[in-house]
C-alpha cells in the first residue's frame, strides 16, 4: 500500500449542495449527470476520513477510484504519474 497521497475520485449519487460540500474542504466537486464527483489528493487516513463523513451524512456512495494511473516500484526510479 502506497502511503503517499494519491488522487482519488469519489462518486456520490445526487447533487451536493453548499452545506454538504463544506464537509469536504479538501476536495473539488464536479457534477456528472445525476451524480457528484469529488476529487482530491488524499493519503489513506484522509481517504477513510472522507468515507466516514460520507457515511455519517447518509450520502449515497457509488464509486471510489484511484486516479494515479501507474504504480511504479521504487527501484525503477521512474517519476510517478500525476
Amino acid at each position: 500500500m502506497d502511503p503517499t497521497p494519491a488522487r482519488f475520485a469519489i462518486r456520490i449519487h445526487g447533487h451536493l449542495g453548499a452545506t454538504v460540500l463544506s464537509a469536504f474542504p479538501a476536495l473539488m466537486s464536479r457534477r456528472h449527470g445525476a451524480d457528484t464527483v469529488l476529487t482530491g489528493l488524499l493519503d489513506r487516513s484522509a481517504l477513510y476520513g472522507v468515507l466516514a463523513e460520507i457515511e455519517a451524512l447518509g450520502l449515497d456512495l457509488v464509486e471510489v477510484r484511484c486516479l494515479t494511473s501507474q504504480r511504479k516500484s521504487p527501484e525503477s526510479g521512474d517519476r510517478r504519474s500525476p
Binding site: H13, H15, T19, V20, S22, R31, A34, E55, A56, G58
Partner: protein, 882 residues
C-alpha cells in the same frame, strides 16, 4: 437512560415489528443499516408496544466512545435498572485500573440472576471505537445466559466475531432493505400525518426517497400543512439534490427565525437542555421550542421522562453543524466557549474540555485537563483522558500537558517516560503564574510520590510527602475537592511505600497514613481509594499485630471490596496475599491455597514485581509445608529471580534467599546451596535467618554438630533476626541436631521451646518445613505445656488438615460453647480427663459435663469419632480466632 416514548405519527409497521419479534426470539439480533434508516424508531416502537413481554436494558452508545470502561459502566447500569436489583452489591463505580474481563463476568451474572430474562438493547454500536470493548462484547454475546437476548443497531457491519452464533442459527439480522418503507407504508405514513397526496404523488415521493425513512419523515414534516403538496413533491422529485440536504433545507426554511437560530446554534452540543440553549441563543424560552419540536416529530428526541434533556438525530445535527459553520463561522468558537463555561459550572469536566478544544483555546483546554487529570483517572475516565490528549494539535506542545502525559505513562508502567514528563512539568510549575503554582506543585509532588512508590524508592516517597503536613487550603469548592483527591492518593501511596519496607520503624507511620487515607477517602466518596488503603493496611498489620488481627483486617478489606464488585481486582491483592500467607503459616494449607488462587486471579491484569514475588514466595511456602520440595524450589527460584530485579526494594528480596537455600539443602543440592551462601555479603551471612539456613545445610550433609554451631548465635540472641519465627526455627533445628547426636533430653527441651514460641499465633509452618514430626512425637505428653497445639501440629504434619469443603455450620442449637471448644481441642491428644482438667484449671466434673455435651451436639459416642467430626466441621481450627 430509558427509551423515549415513541412520538406520534410513527406508523405501525406491523410486518417489521413482527420480524423483529421473530428475530429477538433468537440470542442476538443485529440491525445494520445506514444513517436515517429508521433503526432507532423501530426499536422505540417495538419497546413501547403495549404488552411488551421482555424487560429491556437500553444503552445508546455515546458519540465517539473511546473509553471501554465508560461503555461497560453504562451497560451494567442499564442492566441493573432493567432488573430492578436491590441486591447487597453497590452500584457500579469506576476504577482507575479497568478489568474488562471482570466487567463482562459481572454483566453475565446480573443477566443470569434475572429470572424472567432481560433483553439488552444497544443502539449506535458503531460509535464505540474501543477495540478492547469489542472483544469483550463478543465474549458477552456468545456467552449470554439462556433467558437473555441482545439487539444491536449499527450503521455499518462490525468486527464482532459471532460466527459461532451464526452457525447455530442464533444470530438474526435486519438490514437496510428490510427497513425500507414500501409504497403502501409510504401512503400510510402520509395518511397518519394528515397529508393529502394523490396516488401518483405518493408513488413519486416513494421513488425519490427510495423508501428511506429519514427522507420520508423529513418530507412529511414539510408536507404537513403545506398549501400545495403535489407541487412540493414534483419539485423535490425534479431536483437532483441529495434527499437529506434538500429536505432539511426545506424544513429549516419553514421554521421561524428563532427556531432556526436555536437549531443551528445548539447543533454543536451532544445533548441539549433549555438552560444551555438559552445561553447559546441569548434568548429565553428554548425549552418550549424543544418540546414543540419533539412533538412535531422533527428529529428532536427527549432523553428523560421529565423531558428536560434532548438529543438531535445524528444526521440532522451533522447537517445543521455544517450549516452553522458555513453561515455563521465567527460565532462557532464563541458558542463553544459559552458551552464550555456552562459545563464547567455544572461539573461536567470532559464536555467542558471538549468544547474548549473545539473553540481552539488550546492553552485553556490544557489547563483544564491538567487540573482534572487526577479526578478523571479516579473516576475511571483514563481512556477518555487519553482521547482528549490526542485531540491536541501535535505542533504546539502545551507545558501543562506534561503532567497529563506523565500520568498516562505512569498508569501504563512506563516509568522512565513518566519521570521525564514529570521533570518538564516541574520546571513549568516553577515559572507558572502564582495562582496556579500551588496546585501544580501539589500535583507534581503527588505524581512523584506515585512514581517513587512504583519504583520502591522509599526515601523519594518521604521526600515528596512534605506537603501532606500542610492542611487543605483551597479557596473554592473545586479547589478543595481536587486537593482532597490528591491528598488521599498521596496518603495511600506514602502508607503503602512505608508498609512494603516491611520494617518495624516504619510500621506505625504506615498504619497511621493508611488509616487517614481510608477515612478521607470515605469522607470524599472515593470507595476505590478506601478499599486500596484498607487492603494495604491489612497487609501492613502483621509487623505490629497478631496473626488474628491481621486476618481480621484483611477480611474486612476484602468484604468491602466485594460489596463493590472489586473482589478480583488488583487493588485488593495485598489483603488477599496476606490472608493467604497467614493461613499458610498457621497450617491451614487448603484454605491458604484458595486465597492464593484468588490472589493469582486478582493479579492477572497487574503484574507489579513486588507483589508477584510475594505470591511466588507464599506459594513456595505452601508447597514446602506440604513436603513438596521440588515445587517449592521452583517457586522460590522464580521469587529469587524477581527479587534480583527489584533494585531498590531490598526487604522482600532478602527474605526469599533463605527459603531457596533451605529447600535446595533439603533436596540434597547442598553444593548449590553452599555456593549461593558463599556469595552473600557478610552482613547477610551473619543474620539469624541465614545462620538457620546454614544449619539446614549441615543437617542435610549429616553434620549435626556443625548445625548446632550455626544456630548458636540465634539461640543466644546475638544474631540479628527479623522476628521470633527465626528463633523458633532455630530451636527446631537444634532439636533435630540433638536427636541425631542422641541427646533426647536436649531435643525435647528444644522442641518445647519452639512450641512455646508458636503458641501465641499458633504457627505450624516452621514445624512442617523443618520436618519435625518425629521430633514432636518423641516429646512425652506430660513434658509439654502445649499438648493441644502439639496435637494440632501433628495433625497437619500427617496431612490431616481440615477438608477443603464448604464449611457445614452447626445449627445454632448445636453450636459449641467456648468452654466446650476449649475441651474439644484437647480431645485429639492422649491426655486423660483429669489431665485435661488440670491443663484448663477446671474441675473434672466440668470437663466431663463438657465432653458429654460435645458428644451430644456432634452426635457421636466416643472420643475418636468426636475428633473426626470436629475436624470435618473445622471446629479445631475455629478455636484459634481470638
Amino acid at each position: 437512560m430509558t427509551v423515549a416514548r415513541a412520538t406520534l405519527r410513527l406508523i405501525d409497521r406491523g410486518d417489521l415489528l413482527a420480524a423483529l419479534d421473530r428475530a429477538a426470539a433468537g440470542k442476538v439480533t443485529i440491525i445494520s443499516a445506514p444513517a436515517g434508516s429508521g433503526k432507532t424508531s423501530l426499536l422505540r416502537a417495538w419497546a413501547d408496544r403495549p404488552g411488551q413481554p421482555q424487560r429491556l436494558a437500553v444503552l445508546q452508545v455515546q458519540r465517539d466512545q473511546q473509553d471501554a470502561q465508560q461503555f461497560w459502566l453504562a451497560l451494567v447500569s442499564a442492566v441493573r435498572d432493567a432488573s430492578g436489583t436491590t441486591s447487597g452489591a453497590e452500584p457500579p463505580a469506576a476504577t482507575p485500573d479497568f478489568n474488562g474481563q471482570a466487567m463482562v463476568d459481572r454483566v453475565l451474572s446480573e443477566l443470569a440472576d434475572a429470572s424472567d430474562g432481560i433483553t439488552l438493547v444497544i443502539d449506535d454500536l458503531h460509535e464505540l471505537s474501543s477495540p478492547e470493548a469489542f472483544a469483550q462484547l463478543t465474549r458477552l454475546l456468545t456467552g449470554l445466559p439462556p433467558n437473555a437476548h441482545a439487539i444491536l443497531t449499527t450503521r455499518r457491519d462490525l468486527r464482532l466475531r459471532l460466527h459461532q452464533l451464526r452457525l447455530t442459527g442464533e444470530l438474526a439480522e435486519i438490514r437496510a432493505a428490510d427497513l425500507r418503507f414500501t409504497g403502501r407504508e409510504t401512503r400510510e405514513l402520509l395518511d397518519a400525518s394528515g397529508i393529502t397526496l394523490s396516488e401518483a404523488g405518493a408513488a413519486l415521493l416513494h421513488q425519490r426517497t427510495e423508501g428511506w425513512a429519514a427522507g420520508l419523515r423529513l418530507a412529511a414534516i414539510s408536507l404537513a400543512g403545506h398549501p400545495d403538496p403535489e407541487r412540493f413533491v414534483a419539485e423535490f422529485s425534479g431536483s437532483d439534490r441529495t434527499v437529506a440536504e434538500y429536505l432539511i433545507a426545506e424544513m429549516l426554511e419553514r421554521q421561524s427565525a428563532d427556531v432556526q437560530d436555536l437549531l443551528l446554534r445548539t447543533s454543536l452540543l451532544d445533548r441539549v437542555n433549555g438552560e444551555l440553549a438559552d445561553l447559546l441563543t441569548g434568548r429565553a424560552g428554548s425549552e418550549q421550542i424543544l418540546l414543540s419540536l419533539e412533538d412535531a416529530n422533527a428529529f428532536v428526541v427527549s432523553l428523560n421522562p421529565e423531558r428536560t434533556l434532548f438529543r438531535y438525530h445524528h444526521l440532522f445535527a451533522d447537517l445543521l453543524r455544517l450549516e452553522l459553520r458555513r453561515t455563521l463561522p465567527e460565532e462557532v468558537p464563541v458558542l463553544h466557549r459559552r458551552a464550555a463555561g456552562w459545563f464547567t459550572l455544572h461539573g461536567q469536566v470532559v464536555n467542558a474540555i471538549r468544547h474548549t478544544q473545539a473553540a481552539g483555546d488550546w492553552a485553556d483546554a490544557a489547563r483544564l485537563l491538567a487540573d482534572h487529570s487526577f479526578s478523571l483517572t479516579l473516576d475511571g475516565q483514563a481512556q477518555t483522558m487519553q482521547a482528549l490528549l490526542r485531540a491536541f494539535p501535535p505542533g504546539a506542545d502545551q507545558p501543562e500537558l506534561a503532567l497529563v502525559r506523565a500520568m498516562g505513562d505512569l498508569a501504563q508502567g512506563r516509568l522512565d517516560e513518566a519521570a521525564a514528563y514529570l521533570a518538564v512539568a516541574e520546571t513549568y510549575a516553577e515559572t507558572a503564574p502564582p495562582e496556579r503554582q500551588r496546585r501544580l506543585q501539589v500535583a507534581v509532588a503527588s505524581l512523584r510520590l506515585s512514581l517513587a512508590r512504583r519504583r520502591g524508592h522509599l526515601a523519594g516517597v518521604i521526600e515528596q510527602a512534605r506537603f501532606l503536613a500542610s492542611p487543605v487550603t483551597g479557596q473554592s469548592d473545586e479547589d478543595i475537592a481536587l486537593d482532597s483527591d490528591l491528598r488521599t492518593v498521596a496518603l495511600m501511596n506514602l502508607g503503602t511505600a512505608e508498609a512494603w519496607t516491611l520494617g518495624l520503624p516504619e510500621a506505625p507511620d504506615a498504619e497511621r497514613h493508611l488509616r487517614e487515607g481510608a477515612d478521607l477517602a470515605r469522607e470524599i466518596g472515593r470507595p476505590y481509594l478506601e478499599v486500596g488503603c484498607l487492603a494495604q493496611l491489612g497487609f501492613a498489620s502483621l509487623v505490629l499485630h497478631s496473626y488474628a488481627t491481621t486476618q481480621r483486617r484483611c477480611r474486612e478489606a476484602i468484604a468491602l471490596a466485594e460489596r463493590h464488585g472489586w473482589g478480583a481486582e488488583p487493588v485488593i491483592a495485598p489483603a488477599l496475599i496476606m490472608l493467604a500467607g497467614t493461613m499458610v503459616w498457621t497450617g491451614e494449607f487448603d484454605e491458604g491455597e484458595r486465597w492464593l488462587q484468588r490472589t493469582r486471579q486478582a493479579l492477572e491484569t497487574d503484574t507489579g514485581p513486588d507483589i508477584t514475588l510475594l505470591l511466588r514466595q507464599t506459594a513456595g511456602l505452601l508447597h514446602a509445608g506440604r513436603g513438596r520440595n521440588h515445587e517449592a524450589l521452583e517457586e522460590f527460584g522464580a521469587a529469587e529471580y524477581l527479587g534480583s530485579q527489584l533494585a531498590e526494594s531490598q526487604a522482600l528480596a532478602t527474605r526469599t534467599t533463605r527459603w531457596l537455600l533451605a529447600t535446595q539443602a533439603r533436596l540434597g543440592m547442598t553444593g548449590h546451596a553452599r555456593a549461593l551462601l558463599a556469595a552473600l555479603d557478610d552482613e547477610r551471612a551473619s543474620s539469624g535467618e541465614i545462620r538457620n539456613t546454614l544449619a539446614v545445610i549441615c543437617l542435610a550433609e549429616g553434620d549435626p554438630a556443625a548445625a548446632l554451631d550455626a544456630v548458636a548465635d540465634v539461640l543466644d540472641g546475638t544474631a540479628s533476626v527479623l522476628g521470633y519465627v527465626t528463633v523458633m526455627e532455630a530451636h527446631l533445628l537444634a532439636g533435630l541436631a540433638y536427636r541425631e547426636l542422641g541427646d533426647q533430653r536436649a531435643a525435647n527441651q528444644a522442641a518445647e521451646s519452639a512450641l512455646a514460641l508458636a503458641e501465641a499465633d499458633r504457627l505450624v509452618l516452621p514445624f512442617a518445613m523443618t520436618g519435625s514430626a518425629e521430633l514432636l512425637e518423641a516429646l512425652p505428653r506430660h513434658e509439654t505445656a502445649h499438648a493441644a497445639l502439639l496435637a494440632e501440629i501433628l495433625d497437619v504434619l500427617h496431612g490431616l488438615s481440615p477438608a477443603a469443603k464448604e464449611q457445614s455450620a452447626l445449627s445454632p442449637a448445636e453450636e459449641l460453647s467456648p468452654g466446650e471448644l476449649r475441651v474439644l481441642r484437647y480431645l485429639p491428644t492422649n491426655l486423660s480427663r483429669p489431665e485435661i482438667a488440670s491443663e484448663l484449671s477446671v474441675s473434672l466434673n466440668t470437663v466431663s459435663t463438657h465432653v458429654r455435651s460435645i458428644y451430644s451436639k456432634l452426635q457421636v459416642r466416643d472420643r475418636s469419632s468426636a475428633v473426626q467430626r470436629a475436624r470435618e466441621l473445622r471446629l479445631l481450627a475455629a478455636g484459634r480466632t481470638r
